[in-house]
């Protein structure tokens, strides 16, 4: 049944394609394929919700994340506190919303860092070849041989104090209000740690993509008719490598959120009283038996967000690799 439907759709698509061959490119095609996939649309919805909460959560949250109501400590969900309060009388919903900002910022910035690093190093390795390739490949091997979690927590533990000292020094020298709050320190440390463990994956992907695309017939053809190096790079190599990269970035985004909460759970990530989902689980895990919602709420939040982003990534794989999806 599903197969015949798919066949009909494919036929229809073929006819449509034959009709307006010019107007429908790869991307609009991919977009159509993705919209048809229900799970990936759910994922996109969750992702959008995270983005909105990360951007506007602090303004929408009913209470400040540090506000304690000592008359209402460790309560279950109620009308005043929709998701209950924690051991210190802070509203769980507000802390979840503030935590979304932490997770969102960490995911965006650390993914940006590691993708940039990965594209640069992977591109250099593929283009220069010889010793540069050798050196970068060995660096990838070394970084990937250390278990990620161990490496990230070591980096975070080592560089917290130096970064904090640097921020203090900058405040003393410049007097800028930006350096007065120590909250940036945690975030910078986490960005650095995550970028340093994630870049090898991207670098390896980019290097492999460029090396294999360079040998493809269409690139050879372009070279044969005298297209310039830069144009080949811009018109042929980058657009073709973009699909796998987008998929990897999506999964990396989810991975960064999980990794941040993992580091915070271990106590080397975002420090209290800043709101982080992982730290919220860690803070409350001893009282799971008496107040299970304190653990369940941040836990379910992480699980839903990670699941949504993975659904989205899965839908993107199908949308961007039509050959694999049809098999």
């Amino acid at each position: 049944m599903a197969q015949t439907d798919a066949a009909n759709v494919a036929d229809l698509q073929f006819e449509l394609e034959a009709q307006d061959l010019k107007t429908r490119g790869f991307w609009s095609d991919a977009f159509k394929r993705m919209v048809r996939n229900r799970l990936s649309m759910i994922g996109l919805g969750i992702f959008a919700l995270l983005a909105i909460t990360a951007a506007f959560g602090p303004f929408l949250a009913p209470y400040p994340y540090m506000l304690q109501n000592l008359d209402r400590v460790a309560e279950g969900p109620s009308i005043d506190y929709l998701l209950g309060t924690d051991d210190l009388g802070r509203d769980m919903l507000s802390r979840i919303m503030w935590g979304a900002r932490t997770a969102g910022i960490v995911a965006i910035v650390s993914t940006m860092f590691s993708v940039t690093l990965g594209i640069l190093l992977g591109g250099v390795a593929a283009y220069l070849g010889s010793w540069a390739d050798w050196l970068i490949s060995r660096a990838i091997d070394v970084t990937m041989s250390i278990p990620q979690l161990l490496f990230a927590s070591l980096i975070a533990a080592t560089f917290r104090k130096p970064v904090a000292d640097w921020v203090d020094m900058m405040y003393a020298r410049t007097g800028l209000g930006f350096f007065a709050t120590p909250t940036y320190v945690d975030l910078v440390v986490v960005f650095g740690a995550l970028a340093l463990i994630q870049w090898p994956g991207y670098a390896r992907l980019i290097r492999g993509q460029i090396l294999s695309l360079r040998e493809k017939e269409f690139v050879e053809a372009a070279r044969a008719v005298g297209v310039s190096q830069l144009k080949i790079l811009l018109r042929h190599l980058i657009p073709n490598a973009l699909g796998p990269l987008i998929v990897a970035v999506t999964f990396g985004f989810g991975g960064a959120i999980v990794a941040e909460s993992g580091l915070s759970f271990l106590g080397v990530g975002v420090q209290p009283p800043q709101a982080s989902w992982g730290a919220m689980i860690n803070d409350n895990q001893l009282s799971w038996r008496y107040r299970p919602w304190l653990v369940a709420v941040p836990g379910l939040t992480i699980a839903i967000v990670a699941l949504g982003i993975n659904f989205l990534g899965d839908g993107l794989i199908d949308a961007l690799n039509p050959r694999q999806a049809e098999s």
Binding site: I146, L154, L300
Partner: protein
């Protein structure tokens, strides 16, 4: 082949050396050293050290020496097979790692068995019945399991099984391989890799099924089971074997949290203990061991390739 093998083994040495140097450097650069932690621990017990005594203690441990002197001593000991002594209680490191190996090893083995026995058949099933409800359930469920981090899963399982259904007690401590807590823990550890194995197997089989030799095998009247077992599975397992290289990393991710939650004396707990007391020798030992294991498994994976695919030949 011999040449390839010796080249691969030779490259492991500088890679491990660099890995160790990076980890050692992180410890050296870090602002907190074991003596700082010791001082605060003793202060909590009412023993206060002045600056001179702290400096003496650092000198005694050799922590005031320059980086290369410290690293050189460590390497020198390592080449003699010594992993050094713990800074917290002066006990040697290697016996500790050795004692944690049966725990972590049996957990890892249990996880791998679950992965192979459950994961590969599920992947084959999903591919065989692709685009049916069964396929969607298997793939969706594996993605679900893959998404949930262990530090979320463990409390959830505890809440469900202890508070709601009351089918077990809170597992604390290592009670051997036959205790239910072992199966729960091994199950949790396997989840991440399980999901990727299911997806890899499914994808691999779908790709192989399109080949002409599968049609030929079917046309000449082989049973579906034989087609799958002889012609499809063997070729489809190549990507699965590749993903085995990531096993150690996945395992360490899960085991750090599982050891914490269940209070197992495994490698994960050694690491978190080492990290919280900045016990450099302990951290170095665990990282060295796991990094070496990763490289060994990657080498093993590359050696298995030619067995699965005769076209792969090393020099």
């Amino acid at each position: 082949m011999t040449r390839y093998l010796s080249m691969r083994l030779l490259i492991i040495i500088p890679t491990l050396f660099t890995t160790l140097m990076i980890v050692f450097l992180l410890g050296y650069l870090g602002p907190i050293d074991p003596v700082t932690i010791l001082r605060s621990q003793w202060a909590a017990q009412g023993i206060y050290l002045n600056e001179q005594e702290v400096a003496d203690l650092r000198h005694q441990y050799g922590l005031d020496r320059p980086f290369f002197a410290q690293f050189g001593t460590y390497m020198d000991n390592l080449l003699q097979g010594k992993f050094g002594y713990s800074f917290t209680d002066a006990a040697p490191i290697w016996p500790r790692i050795k004692r944690s190996l049966p725990v972590s090893g049996s957990l890892a083995l249990g996880a791998v068995i679950i992965m192979i026995v459950v994961g590969i058949p599920l992947g084959i099933l999903a591919a065989r019945f692709r685009n049916t409800r069964l396929d969607y359930i298997i793939v969706g469920f594996s993605l679900f399991l893959w998404s949930i981090p262990p530090f979320v899963l463990v409390p959830m399982i505890l809440i469900i099984s202890v508070l709601w259904f009351d089918i077990m007690n809170v597992p604390r401590g290592w009670k051997g391989v036959w205790h239910p807590s072992f199966f729960v823990a091994a199950g949790i550890i396997s989840l991440r890799s399980l999901a990727s194995i299911i997806r890899q197997t499914r994808g691999g089989i779908l790709e192989v099924l399109q080949n002409d030799y599968v049609r030929t095998a079917r046309a000449k009247g082989l049973t579906e089971f034989k087609v799958m077992a002889r012609h499809v599975a063997r070729n489809a397992l190549i990507p699965v074997v590749t993903s085995m290289g990531l096993l150690v990393d996945d395992f360490m991710w899960q085991t750090v949290f599982v050891d914490l939650a269940f209070n197992f004396p495994g490698l994960g707990r050694l690491f978190t203990q080492g990290l919280s007391s900045r016990d450099f020798n302990m951290i170095n030992g665990v990282v060295l061991f796991t990094a070496g294991l990763t490289m060994a498994i990657n080498l093993l994976v590359d050696l298995i390739y030619p067995l699965l695919d005769p076209r792969v030949v090393y020099d």
